[in-house]
Every structure is written in structure tokens, then in C-alpha cells.
Symmetry: C2
Subunit: 206 residues, 2 copies
Amino acid sequence: MTQLDEPTAPTKLGRKRDHTRDPEILDAALDVLAETGYDGMTIDMVAARAKAGKATVYRRWSSKAELVVDAVACMKRTDLDVDHLPDTGTLRGDLVAMIKPRSIEDAEKKLQIMAGLVSMISRDPGLAEAVNAAIVEPRVSVNRTFLRRAIERGEIAADCDVETLALLSPSMASYRVLIEQKPVDREFLLALIDGVILPAVGLKAP
Amino acid sequence: MTQLDEPTAPTKLGRKRDHTRDPEILDAALDVLAETGYDGMTIDMVAARAKAGKATVYRRWSSKAELVVDAVACMKRTDLDVDHLPDTGTLRGDLVAMIKPRSIEDAEKKLQIMAGLVSMISRDPGLAEAVNAAIVEPRVSVNRTFLRRAIERGEIAADCDVETLALLSPSMASYRVLIEQKPVDREFLLALIDGVILPAVGLKAP
DNA sequence: TATATGCGGTACTGTAGAGTTTCGGATCTA
DNA sequence: TAGATCCGAAACTCTACAGTACCGCATATA
């Protein structure tokens, strides 16, 4: 993954080798990716959106594939703050607390990006890994945490299939965006929680 | 959708306008689609696999997009015989009876095809419709039937969310193939049935 | 101010693939 | 057999885009 730290040391003379435009270019790449998919995306589109020259892009990444992998890997985790998860005392409370307009919006864009990468995922292991680490795993991990907490406090049975249940919401959300082309809105998420997840662990909606 | 009926009437003289090669070309298109995705697929590949000339393809379909839509729309429904669904008397029995090597194999290929079309689905409403009718809806419909039957015989509660529950298995299977790149095998399907679907409708595995 | 360097912009090269055209051979009808 | 038509193959055009080369400006160092 690219480091977006401070500029590196000066060269012999002259300006620092700052690569100041990297974040703009990566953001532009994600935008274009979400709108047109991997094959539809051109380096010219990315450069234009970042108000950068095409050469600047190639100075930093040696190919389109590398740029895309890096863009996905550097994707901001703004939607999930894994260190400050809600802890409401009930499984339903925790799950519902994750539904926020900001979070929904962010997740939807990531799913659009994922849609544009699906056919590439099976051909580029590095990309598959980046997508998994940046989009998939964080969400699954959050659900796992909520389920384990619920087991610990005795709210749900200890022998339920945590791994499969943690995949449930990401799976259905992906399917809804990628295949059904419908929005993952509050209504859908509540129906999922109250109609599937809670019943599946032996709880029921209030 | 293209009709694959008998040859049409003879022209003034000479050979019938039979379009005999249509099925081979459509099958070849589906094979290439499953292997390389929409953007990776070239008309030359399809023609070569069907042992046909490129011109023959274009005599019949005016563009790559049209060919793909038609191939998906004409896709054989070999895996699901909607008129002869199992009826074992229990929901679990019905769901398990759908797990057959033949059916799994067939479903997996369709999911591969879907993977190659995902990024195109959002740009071509005709393709979205074809994919839905040929791959998605049949499966959802089967699950709906099983759930309704179970409600009618009093096996499960009448107020459960049939629509969402019917999407569960197709969603998780798609996710598994498209994103996780894992096989949808018997083991996975049994874990899904016994670990999620049955608990979600208030039943438990034997 | 002088110099080195990164940058935006643009023009360029090379290639891949969509779609077209042509042609010789095969096959059907009469 | 003769006439009409379809087919496979291959050559062709044209466009789009990946990747490269270059230039003049801006900016930071000294």
C-alpha cells in the first residue's frame, strides 16, 4: 500500500520530491471507478478529474492496474470506525446504531466500486486482496464483534454460526446493489435486521 | 428473445435461411463470457469457439451487446425445472432436495457469467432484465414457493418475511462466488440452510 | 537571482478489438 | 446441372486507449 505520509527527503537541489498530488489522483480514480468500472475507466479520465497530467499519473504508478489496486488499498475507512463501535447492550441496538445516513452513503459508493471490479477480482489476486481488506472484511468483522458480544452476555445461543451470520448483511447488501440495482437504505436494513438476522439468532423485533 | 424454432421459409430460390449455427454461437458466447467477462470477451473468441466466421456472427446480431443479451436470454434453464419441484413435506427436505451435483455445477457457471456482467448490468437495462429473468428470478421463485408451502401447512409462521427470506440463498451464493471466490458446494449450502434459513423461520436442523 | 526539479498539457506511438468487406467453396432447390 | 444463397476464413478500416516523450511554466532551494 502507498504511504501518504510527509514528503520524502529533498534531492540534491531544487524542490522536494513531494508527490503532493497523490491523494487527489487516488480519489479521482475511485470516483471514476465507481462511475464506469475498471474497463470503462481511462487514465485520461482520472487525470482530468484530478486536474493532473497523464504523465504525472504514470510517474507515480507504472500501470492502470497498479493505480487501481493502490486506490482501493488506500481507500479511506470513513464509514466504519472499528475502534469506536456502538455498544448499546442489545444486538438489535448495536445493529441499528450502525445505520446512519453518512455510513449508508459511504457504503453505497464502496459497493459501486466493488461492482466495477468484480470481473477483475478473479484475474488479479492482489486486487482481490485489496478489495477484501478495504471493503469486505471490515464489515464482516463488525458483525462478528456484535454477535460475539451478544453471545457473551447470554443474549443469543453460544452455538450459533457466527461466521455465516456475520456474512449475511454484507452479502445481501452487495446483492441488492450489484444485481438488483436497488438502494441499501434504512428501510431495507431494518427489514434485514428484524426479518432475518434477529429471527435467525432466536430473537424477535420489538 | 431470439426464437430457436424451425428454419424460416425459403427465399426465392436456393438454400433455406436456416441460421442453423445460432445455438452453437450462443453457447460459445456464454462459455467465453463465463471465462473472461464482458469486456474480456471478443467476437473472434466466440466465433473461433463456435467454429464459425466472425461475419456469420454479425449477420445475425448487429453488435456485441446484442449478442450477449440474447445469449443470456436464451440460456437453457437446465438446472431448475420449475414445473417439477420436489415436495417432501418439510421445508428442510425441499431445500436439501435442490442440492444436486448437476444443479450445483450449472448454478456455478451461471454465477460466473453473472460475475462477468455485473459492471455492465448497471449500464444496460436490457441486460439487467435478461440476467434477472434467466438467472436471478427463477431461483428466488423456487424459494418463495417452498416458503409459501411451509406456511400453508403450518410448518412456519405466516407472518415471516417471505420476500427477503427467498433472496437469502441467492444473495449469499452470489457473494460467495463473486466476492469470496469460493465454491458453492454442498457443505456451504447445508450450512446456509441449517445455520441461517431454518433458524430464521423458527425451525432447527435435525 | 540562478538552477534544478515536479507538474500540467499536448502530441505521439503502438496495439487491440469492433465492425465491414470480399471471396471461394459448400449446399440446397428446381 | 444451374442458379441462388449461406458459410468460414481472412484481410481490411477505424477508433479508443495504454503508455511515452517532450515542452514550458511554476516553485522551492540556495
